[in-house]
Structures are given as C-alpha cells and as structure tokens.
C-alpha cells in the first residue's frame, strides 16, 4: 500500500517536471473521454425522447386518419376531406374483438378568451373513450362524461400549457372560458404529456365534447355531419397489432365500399411501431457516436505511449541507477505504468468534466436533449484507465527490461 502510494508520488513528480508535455498528452485523453461522454449523452437524450413519446402516445395505439394514400405512398388531402365517421369508429369497436376502445376526434385551432386574455390553442372534440384510448389521465376534476357528449355540454378540459397560459397559478376548475364566443366551464385538468415526435407541445390543448365541438365551435362538414378527423384505437394487450391493423383496414374499405382497384380513402398508422423503429435507430446512433468518439480516445492512448517511450529513453540513466540501488524489474514496471495510468486518469477526470460541460452546452445552445448516464461516466473513466494500462505497458516493460550496466552508462 505504502509502496503504491510511493510510486504514485514518484509518478506525479516526474509528470510535474514536464508540465506542458504532460498537459498536452492528457489533452488527447481529455478530448477522447469528453467526446465519448458528450456523444453518448446526445444519443441517450435522443433515445429518452423517443421513449417518452412512446409513453405519451399511449400503448398499443392505432390511429386512423381521413385522407387517401396513393399506391406510391403519397398522402393526399388529409383532413380537408373528411372520409371517416363516428359510425366507422363505433363499427371498429363493435366488430373487431381485438379492439379495446375506439375514440373518434375532431380538431381545430382557435382563439380562446379568458377575461381579457387571448390564447390561440388546439381544440379537440372528443368522446369519453378518448382518455382511455390515449392513456391520458385527468389529474384534477373529471373527464368528459357520456351526458356531456349527448347534450353538447359546454364543459372543457385544459392541458397543462393552456392552463398555465390562461390561469397562471390559479385553479382552472370552475373558470369560464370563451371559445368562439361560446362560454365553456373548465371541469378538468389534463396530465402533462410533453412533446410529440414532431416537437409539438401536446399540453397546449383544450378538450371539449365531440357534439359541442361540431355544433358550437369547429362546425360540421357539410357533406357529412358524422365525419371526424381521426380515430384513436387502443388494441387489447397481447393482441397482434399488425393483425388488428389489417382488420381495421378491411372493415373500413368495406364500409366505404371501395373496389379492389381503388386506393384507401383513409390512413391507418401504428404509431408506436414507427416510434419503436425510431428508438432502434437512435440506439444505433448512440453506438455509432460512442464508437467514433472512442477512436479519439484511442488516439489519446497512442499519445501516451509515445510520450512514455520518450520518457523511458530520456530517463535511462535514472532507471539504471534505481536498479543499481535495488529496484527490481517489477518496481520499474510499476513506476512507469503508474505514470501512464496517472496521465490517463487525470485526463479522464478532466475529460468527464469536459464531457459534462459539452453535453450541457449542447442542450443549452443547440437545444438538443442530452442525458448523461452515470454508467457512461464510469465506462469512459474505466476505458481511460484501460487505455493508460494498455498503452503504458509496452514502454514500462521496455524500461523494466533494461540492463542496469548499460542503462547506467547511457549518455
């Protein structure tokens, strides 16, 4: 133990003697470790974002949108021409056993007035099933009830962002807001959902009953008063999503009387699948970034080896003398190995600080989501130590194998 401490002191002293050289050698490791930590933080941030989106989307969710897809995959006129209806939604819930719940929805953007405050936000007309379909909890007050929907009740639920912008810190429950001049009473506050995969704030929203939305706020489609913009369908746990998707598509084609040669006039999307693919690719990206950053760590290691070889040559006489007064090969090996590892560990520590700073700077200036995992820090530090041992070993062994007589005579 004391011998190890002694070796560390000897190592530190010889590093101090050549301050600039030691610092430059460390720089290689600092950049390497810093790059690994920053890059992994960027990758992990992207992964976390996707994972959160999957969470906020609700699990086992299939969305049906109005609009058509050409055979080439081009999507036409979404929403402009509403082709799916509340009855389609009811049929899906009724006829496909794998479906747990099916919730139609209409959506629009409009001004909301509270007192003398004006706020432009998304308005969605939904049915009571919507909350279950989207796994969206009401944290205060109550959701939309079947009575609200049947009677076109003038009640509203507000998202977190909207609530804050309209009411600040005041309790939103019981407040009266005007949507298109129609007064609505706030009866519930929605749980926070965060951003969706397009970067939209999902909490900037007001939910009102579907019937109220059609009659009083967004208006009805002239051609089809039962039309809706989209249907959110929750599939029962354990059911095959792909199979359910096919059944929904078949059912809708039947109901819309589409001939085999006609394209779908709707759009079915298994969004969690899309996000899972994104999650996979962000994982691959993390590995790739880490691999690229590791290359710079490797280059740093080669720098250490280079400097240690120079140092062994320069200090040949010192090595000879140490051997003459009783140092064994392993003492010399240990001394130079500790020197190399000290370089790489100090470089590693500074590199961790640099990496944390880099990740912080990226999320601050570039507004990238970054996530520094303690495991990534431990890994980078361990990797730096390993680099020190690996690249320090050859020079140290070279020193340990010197012949004391020749080393003493070395000029």
């Amino acid at each position: 133990m004391t011998a190890a401490l002694q070796s560390i002191r000897i190592a530190l002293r010889s590093l101090r003697v050549n301050k600039l050289r030691s610092a430059l050698t460390m720089l290689g490791i600092i950049i390497g470790v810093g790059a690994v930590i920053t890059m992994v933080a960027v990758g992990a941030g992207a992964q976390a974002r996707v994972a959160e989106q999957i969470q906020s989307l609700g699990s086992n969710l299939i969305i049906v949108l109005s609009g058509s897809v050409t055979s080439s995959g081009l999507r036409m006129g979404t929403g402009s021409q509403l082709t799916i209806t509340e009855d389609d939604s009811a049929a899906i819930a009724r006829e496909i056993p794998a479906v747990q719940v099916s919730a139609p929805m209409v959506r629009g953007n409009t001004q909301v007035v509270f007192g003398n405050l004006n706020w432009s936000t998304a308005i969605q007309g939904v049915t009571p099933d919507y909350f279950e379909a989207r796994d969206w909890a009401v944290i205060d007050g109550r959701p939309i009830s079947p009575e609200d929907n049947d009677g076109a009740g003038k009640v509203a639920l507000v998202g977190q962002t909207t609530a804050f912008n309209l009411f600040g810190d005041a309790d939103p429950l019981g407040q009266i807001i005007r949507i298109k001049k129609v007064p609505f009473t706030v009866v519930g506050l929605l749980d926070r959902k965060g951003q969706n995969s397009y970067g939209q704030d999902q909490d900037d929203i007001i939910l009102i009953p579907m019937s109220s939305a059609k009659k009083k706020v967004l208006g009805k489609s002239n051609s089809n008063p039962r039309a809706v913009g989209s249907i959110s369908i929750k599939i029962r746990p354990g059911e095959d999503m792909g199979e359910a998707e096919n059944q929904i598509r078949e059912l809708l084609r039947q109901r819309h009387r589409l001939q085999p040669y006609q394209d779908d006039d709707f759009w079915v999307r298994n969004l969690s699948e899309v996000l899972q693919t994104q999650e996979e690719s962000s994982k691959v990206m993390t590995y790739l970034l880490a691999a690229i950053a590791s290359v710079s760590l490797l280059v740093g290691g080669i720098g250490i080896m280079n400097i240690m070889l120079v140092s062994v040559t320069e200090r040949t006489r010192e090595i000879g003398l140490r051997m003459a007064v009783g140092a064994r090969g392993r003492d010399i090996l240990g001394q130079f190995l500790i020197e190399a590892v000290t370089l790489s560990l100090i470089g590693g520590l500074v590199g961790i600080a640099a990496g944390l700073g880099g990740a912080e700077a990226l999320s601050y200036f570039a507004e990238w989501r970054t996530l520094v995992a303690p495991a990534a820090i431990a890994l980078a530090f361990g990797f730096a130590a390993a680099v020190g041992v690996f690249f320090g070993f050859y020079p140290a062994r070279k020193a340990a194998r010197l012949d004391p007589i020749e080393a003493l005579r070395y000029e």
């Binding site: 002694q6 003398l321 140490r322 051997m323 003459a324 007064v325 064994r328 007589i405």
Partner: protein, 250 residues
C-alpha cells in the same frame, strides 16, 4: 576459502560475445577481501576493472567462476535476487555521481530505502542522518544542479551508506574531481573505513591508490598483483598540507 571474507571470488570469468568475436574481459580472478579492508583496484584501460566491479556489485553475472558475497554464493542468482542483494549489501559510488536531477539531496539519499520497504518516516530520518555524516546536513533541500561536484559526490556517498551495506564499491569516484576535492572525498572514505566499512575503489592514479591498505593490479583480465600496504597515506593529513581553498569545505 577464507570464511571471514566479505567478498570471495574463485576463477571469476566474464566473456562478452560481440558477433563473431569473444572479448575475454575477465579471465579467472580469485580474490578474498575481509571486512574492514580498503582495497584499490588499478590497471590500464580495458584491463577489466569495471567488469570486475560490476560482478562484485551484483549488476552482472559471471560467465564462469564463483562469487560469495557475505557468505552467499550469488553466481547463480536471478535478476530479482541480485536486485535484493544490491539493495541489502552494496553501496555504489560512481564517477558520474548519478544523482537524480530535479530531486533534492535528501530524496536522492533516500532512494535505496524506497526499495527496501522501510516506512516513510524512518526513511527520512536515516537519509538525514547519513547526509549529516558526510557534512551536508544543511543541503538536504538542494537539487544536484545547486551543488558542487564534490558535494554531489558526497551526496552519492551518503546514498551508498543509507542501507547500511557490507561493501562500498566505488568505480573511479574521483575521476571527475580536482585534486583537493578528490582528497576530501578520500578523507571521507577513510573515515568511514576506519569505522569498519569495507571499501573497494577503482582508480587510475597511483596517488589515489596510495590511500588504500591493499592494491589489486589488473592486466588483460587477470589479477597481476595483490599487494598489502603497511602504512597507507592519511587523507586528512594530506588535506591539511594542501593549499587552502575557499570552496574547500563548503
């Protein structure tokens, strides 16, 4: 075989193979040195003096022959065992001083103790003691570059003493020093010798060998003569006779 001898060799031989050539640096040297002797080794350049000293110092292994150091046959020892012997039994003094640069005198003296597993406190104390014994108690924190040649060699002697070795081996310790400083170093060595320390010293100069009690003369790798001197010169007396010099005992 003299059982009292601190150093005993029998047919000590060292060959160096240089490609097709074999250099016979030492061709069978048998000698015994008793504890407390002050031995000078002389001979022309290339006669094998340094080769002999390297073998005595356990820095090298002989091609043939035997070597007992303090009663132990070390001829067949491995690298690690030789290192241990050097650490425990031998103190080296070199012509080039061989002090670590940018390292204080005290730490230089301490160096051999780093490899004998002594606790730090005790190391420091012993190093200080030895530095005082060579008259440099107040120079402990000076680096070699801040010391004169004579002072540096005295630090080196303190270093060679710190492990309480059986023998001091000095290969031309005064080769890089002027006459007066050389005599000072010899006075120091004589003082240590009279206190019981065994010293083997290589020199080219008969003037220096005159301070030793016994002179071994080498030629072509062989021991030419082994001469006991009844009354060697006293370095302290000689020093008093030399013209005074301000730098002398700095």
């Amino acid at each position: 075989m003299d059982s009292h001898a601190i150093i005993a060799t029998e047919g000590l031989t060292k060959d160096y193979v240089l490609g097709p050539h074999v250099v016979h640096a030492l061709r069978g040297v048998s000698v015994a040195i008793d504890p407390g002797e002050f031995v000078a080794v002389m001979g022309p350049s290339g006669s094998g003096k340094s080769t002999f000293m390297n073998l005595l110092g356990c820095l090298d292994t002989p091609t043939a022959g035997r070597y007992w150091l303090d009663g132990r046959d070390v001829a067949g020892f491995g690298r690690d065992e030789l290192a241990r012997m050097r650490n425990a039994k031998i103190g080296f003094v070199f012509q080039m001083f061989n002090l670590l640069p940018r390292t204080s005198a005290l730490e230089n003296v301490e160096l051999p103790l780093l490899y004998s597993g002594l606790p730090a406190r005790e190391r420091r104390g012993r190093a200080r003691e030895r530095l005082a014994a060579v008259g440099l108690a107040d120079r402990g924190h000076h680096h070699p570059s801040q010391l004169s040649g004579g002072q540096q060699q005295r630090v080196a002697i303190a270093r060679s003493l710190v492990n309480e070795p059986s023998v001091i081996l000095a290969d031309e310790p005064t080769g890089n020093l002027d006459t007066r400083t050389s005599v000072e170093i010899l006075a120091l060595l004589q003082r240590l010798n009279r206190a019981g320390l065994t010293i083997v010293l290589v020199t080219h100069e008969p003037d220096i060998a005159a301070y030793a009690g016994r002179v071994l003369a080498f030629r072509d790798g062989r021991l030419l003569s082994d001469e006991q001197r009844g009354a060697p010169l006293d370095a302290a007396t000689a020093l008093a006779a030399l013209p005074a010099d301000e730098e002398a005992l700095a």
